[in-house]
Symmetry: C2
């Protein structure tokens, strides 16, 4: 345990040096956050499959409860119950276009985590830093509960709970709770809690700011610890995960048709039905719900008493309760769609629920087809100020304001970008699989997977830390 | 699967080259021995603890169901449901005396397994090859069900089921089923099935030969596969192990007092009681039995309806049914003491049951205190030709014959050697622990252990093989 305390102090100092401006002391957020016994209590696991390049190296780190896929290096870091998903890393020889130049990758990309503390954080996609195409870097960073580090290299950053940094590059930034940032290259910035910020240089900028009193109900920091409805929601359901983490090969109780994949580390409760090409990721939670063909539920998603017509996306951390989703609905990161038995939420085909949207229904709600939805909604009339038909949005040019939302730029680029990305997500997940290798995605490729469990030193000075581990692919040519 | 077949052929060729003389073709013993699906079905596990030097390296191998402890390298080999116990390897700086010379170890000893096929084999203790003190070598070797490679470097050998090679050095030898060899340096020898051979150069030689028709009842090869009562005994109980291998942290149902240790991978059935300083190893099986203070049950031991008064040793593979053991009884490797409800076996204090002894009682049997027992016994009167008071044996000088047993040399050296070894085993296992570090042994040192599970490629060309894995200890000085 002595060495683990030294490691925590080491990380705090490294991060604080980076965060001189904006001035943040990450110490109180991190010190004593994880009960000391827990470091040695939970195992880590990495996936073994023929479908992804594979290489792991763990050194002087504690990685309890964390799931690794792909190529990852972890050095002098604490990763607690996090997901390090390297299945969308770029491969050697692939071409990246940047400013009209075509750059060829000299090696497979590797997720490189150094001197960082990640608490229940999801790392996914790949580096969008054109200067570091072969490395998805996370260094000198503290990231707290249910943060998403998605396609964003972060160096010297502090992410509060439920923050998402998406397809960006962040240096020395402090990102507030429940803020969503997709804004290119950022440096030495403080981003307020509850800000939804999507920016493409020379094309558009979208901003929404949650009112403080509303945000605080759902997520706030109290004495450096997260509180609120979102935290309670997770806490109330965490016991359901215990049985699946106690079995070596947990088994699911649901029929999994051809081309679909249900992680053995997902929770399925009640009556669930999963159609073809559906993907249910590890740490997803499905209860009394129907997943139509090609629909997916990613890490930390909770889908309860809901029906998905098909080809719907629930991005990382999306929570969908008492909802009916038409076809091709997109629910963004960490959204909280909280319908009730008598206040159902109906979402029309093709609609886009922006990341970090909260719909906490106090009456039945209906979102028409092909709408863009954002911000905080509790009644049907709230939709007037928090949604707009996608076709109207695509027609925007110049400045636009609706309630707490501002938009500037070319609406068509914003809408096309979103539509393009949703299609890409569905492709990646294998929603359109027709039996061919070309159309296969995560749902098909994660079927033949095995999980390897790693446990830390159970006692003594090294308690909670892991030995140094290298795992390399077997080269058939060796024989 | 293609690569696994190539690996099997590679091993067969390597071993056959070594076994030109005596001429053995190991191919038919190994080909199709393990159902192809099973290679990918079972996980391997290695232990992590602060109490033993730690280092693992697995390369181009299949190690399903195998347990590793200590420092082990495995290269181009198949280890199936075997135990590679490196907890008695010699440490860097320790002194080995050989021919009056004192040799200091320049490194920690490592078990090095190359180009070998081990089926349900136990590897334990350390190298007794003075030419290779830092390496416990197993290469170009095929070893079958429940063989014991104990403190014996084996190169180019074939061990049939239930064979034990103990504290020896074997080059290019074929060791028959159920034969026990402790005979110094052996080269290009064929050892018949059912031969018990203990030899110390210039001191003594003990020989016993099982009658063929009796041995065949218990263990024989039929179409290159093992058959007989001993195999049936294991097969009938193997289902009992399934639940413990399905849990990440299997829990035992028995109270474990201070200083005692019960492996989570042992089976405990019915009413069992374990006293202080008892050690129950992984893959041991205890049913309705009492283990007095300091008693132990090692790998592949089955103790059923029996009582141990204390400080008793059940060496690897010992099976003890309906027996009552007085204090400090020793039951040697792979012995089969098969008492019955109405034919109990009583063994007096201080008696030594030689390795590979079969007592299959058809009437109640009583062995007095301080006797040496060997060979095949089913009735009380058989003891006349298969046992002798240890004090009488210690008085032997020159040649001695009793039934199928011959002895030549100095009896006192034989008896003293045995007594010394039993004391050493009890010390190693922590039977005499008084709370001090000096008296601690395996029972105390394996309490704070965690198990790491490794799984092979689940599908495809590499199915059943493992990625290349290196596991090194964490160096606290790194921070």
């Amino acid at each position: 345990m002595k060495q683990l305390n030294k490691l925590i102090n080491h990380i705090v100092n490294r991060v604080n040096v980076n965060l001189r401006e904006p001035l943040v002391d990450v110490g109180p957020f991190v010190q004593d956050l994880i009960p000391k016994d827990s470091f040695a209590l939970y195992y880590a696991f990495y996936a073994l499959t023929n479908n992804h390049p594979l290489k792991f190296h763990f050194r002087h780190s504690s990685v309890g409860g964390t799931y690794f896929l792909g190529k990852c290096k972890v050095n002098h870091s604490i990763l607690y119950k996090s997901d390090i998903r390297g299945d969308e890393l770029k491969r050697k020889g692939s071409i990246v276009e940047c400013n009209g130049q075509q750059i060829k990758l000299r090696d497979d990309e590797v997720i490189k985590i150094r001197d960082s503390f990640l608490m229940k954080t999801l790392v996914h996609n790949n580096s969008h830093d054109p200067e570091n195409l072969e490395a998805f870097k996370i260094s000198n960073t503290v990231s707290l509960h249910y943060a998403n580090i998605h396609g964003t290299s972060v160096e010297g950053c502090f992410l509060e709970p439920f923050a998402s940094v998406d397809l960006s590059i962040c240096h020395d930034c402090a990102v507030g709770a429940y803020s969503y940032v997709q804004a290119g290259e950022l440096s030495h910035k403080r981003i307020n809690p509850g800000r939804i910020w999507v920016k493409a240089d020379g094309a558009f900028e979208f901003n929404y700011q949650y009112p403080e009193e509303i945000l605080n109900k759902y997520i706030r920091m109290e004495n450096h610890r997260p509180k609120g409805i979102l935290m309670d929601f997770f806490d109330e359901r965490k016991e359901d995960f215990i049985p699946i983490y106690s079995a070596v090969n947990p088994e699911n109780i649901v029929d999994v048709p051809d081309g679909a994949s249900v992680s053995p580390y997902a929770v399925l409760k009640g009556e669930c039905k999963v159609e073809k090409n559906v993907l249910i990721a590890q740490r997803a939670y499905l209860e009394d719900s129907y997943m139509g063909p090609g629909a997916n539920a990613q890490e930390n998603c909770y889908i309860i008493n809901s029906t998905y017509d098909g080809d719907d996306v629930t991005a990382h951390g999306g929570k969908v309760i008492h909802c009916h989703l038409g076809r091709q609905v997109f629910v963004g990161f960490n959204s909280f769609l909280n319908g009730k038995e008598d206040c159902k939420i109906e979402i029309g085909t093709g609609s886009i629920i922006m990341p970090h949207t909260i719909i906490d229904a106090i009456e039945p709600l209906k979102i028409p087809d092909n709408f863009l939805v954002w911000g905080y909604i509790s009644k049907q009339e709230d939709l007037e100020m928090h949604s707009i038909p996608l076709s109207d949005f695509a027609a925007l040019k110049g400045q636009f304001r609706l309630g707490n939302m501002t938009f500037e730029g070319i609406g068509a680029k914003f809408v096309d970008g979103f539509r393009h990305r949703i299609k890409h997500i569905l492709e990646c997940n294998g929603a359109f699989w027709d039996g061919s290798e070309e159309t296969a995605g995560h749902a098909q490729q994660t079927q033949d997977i095995s999980f390897n469990i790693l446990q830390p030193y159970p006692e003594g000075e090294l308690q909670g830390l892991y030995p140094e581990l290298s795992i390399d692919p077997l080269e058939p040519s060796d024989l």
